[in-house]
Symmetry: C2
Subunit: 270 residues, 2 copies
DNA sequence: CAAATAGTGTCTCTAAGACAATATCAC
DNA sequence: GTGATATTGTCTTAGAGACACTATTTG
């Protein structure tokens, strides 16, 4: 009988055909837009990071940042490495979204994607607004159910407007996957990945799972409420939000002044 | 400038090193044990399917069923194929558990595992109780928090008793991962995969997400309640369970008689 | 009848939604 | 003062937990 060492020496892993494995990441950030009225708080928009593909395939199309898993790293480390290559910022949280392994999803060959969603603190990122020189841009996200039972994902950045049509395939164990009816010029199956990531993000936002990650360590409760509203696409009553969030935050003795209305207390995550 | 076709012809995917990708599946089933007292309903135990490894590495250890992803199939198809090879039964549901990519997790080389949990209807499986001739066996599952802050996973089947000690690493977005302190003779990192699968199963059972999948199409509410109790390891008050489950089931006009007590109505999933 | 499960009714407590009311600041 | 947000209080309603009670069967 062979010993384990003998077995391992005789074992040739190359006998089997292997896929390539990539980590693709949908990084979300909330962009604040100053209002004209000096009294009013800033408006908020949910954005996702896309990069323009310089080479084939899908040349000049927009895609999620991602790259091949390298020997010696975990898939999460690979995902974080890819985000940092594009943003120079370490994401605060990384949420698994799914494994995309449909044959033919990548014309280059047998490539499987482990998809993640990540959250980036707005303040930490250098602002790029319609800067065409860069190949990485934050796109405003709009995601709506249509009357026909499909979903429409609209990503816009300056004059660029990508519109994808998706159909909800199935929802099991809280994970929703989408079939792409029209990719809207988004590379590969990334429209479906973004939709799945967004759905996951929304369902977790309801339980305060990562809304803190969009903000710096100190924040007002209004800012925090606006994060949740922006992600979930709904509006909340301040009184109820404050009551529910109360267990998750600690108050500081700092206030934000100079806003043309009552100063807001700063809080920290508990 | 090259056309996309020219690019793809020149593209050699073999230039990059690639991992092997496997699907490993924790299949859960609920085993009913007849009681001595003729009046009493059967007792229920949660079990998980393990196979004894015939070859190296981890020869003669117990492991989760799993196998390499083949070209042309999705990772979910691969997982279902592996379950059916062991049980001849198509699982009713397949729940993603995580990607296990820690370097060194498999002595054979660079092998990444996509882990799933699946649910098997008890009636459909031929019973094996302590049948040593077979290399696939259902192990009773016990999973408890210890006072020291670790978790103990005990898998037992006849005289075989595998005890693993795990430490909760982190819980983000409802997904809990474990560090293996003592694998308890369970092959590879499969003790950690089983613990993660079990944790996912429990959290979903609370919302009735897959408790139906453990039973045949027609069932009594007591049976359904016992499924939830067995998975979550708690006991529930019948009155409250019936009230909550009411929206998810439709009653039939069939009854189960001959049990030494009031007959129970059969229900179907709505 | 006894023992067991099946099934119903209802009390209490908590959490969430809705909304009214007050506080505070910059202009 | 005006207009905006910040913050607190409270009424109502929906749901969960606890528990008492009735119904039905077989040995």
């Amino acid at each position: 009988m062979n010993s384990e060492n003998e077995f391992l020496q005789a074992y040739h892993i190359d006998d089997y055909e292997r896929p390539s494995l990539t980590a693709d990441v949908a990084s979300f950030m909330i962009r604040s837009e100053q209002m004209d009225n000096y009294r009013q708080n800033a408006d908020s928009k949910l954005t996702v990071l896309l990069i323009r593909r310089g080479g084939h395939p899908f040349q000049n199309c927009w895609a999620l940042p991602g790259g091949f898993l390298m020997p010696g790293e975990t898939i999460e480390e690979c995902a974080v490495r890819e985000i940092m290559e594009e943003t120079n910022v370490r994401p605060v949280s990384l949420m698994p979204v799914g494994i995309f392994s449909e044959p033919g999803r990548d014309p280059r060959g047998w490539i499987i994607s482990a998809a993640f969603a990540s959250v980036i603190v707005a303040n930490d990122v250098k602002v790029q607004s319609g800067d065409d020189a860069s190949d990485a841009m934050w796109f405003d996200v709009q995601f709506e159910q249509t009357p026909e039972g499909t979903s429409q994902l609209t990503l816009s950045c300056g004059d660029i407007r990508l519109k994808a049509i998706l159909k909800e395939k199935k929802t099991v164990f809280g994970i929703t996957t989408f079939e792409i009816m029209d990719s809207g010029q988004i590379a590969f199956d990334h429209a479906g990945i973004i939709a799945a990531a967004l759905t996951a993000l929304r369902s977790h936002a309801a339980h305060f799972d990562m809304i803190f990650d969009f903000l710096p360590p100190e924040f007002t409760l209004s800012e925090l409420q606006r994060v949740q509203e922006t992600i979930m696409g709904i509006s909340l009553l301040p009184a109820n939000f404050r009551r529910k969030i109360n267990d998750y935050v600690t108050e500081t003795d700092q206030y934000v002044r100079g806003a043309g209305h009552r100063p807001a207390r700063l809080y920290r995550r508990k």
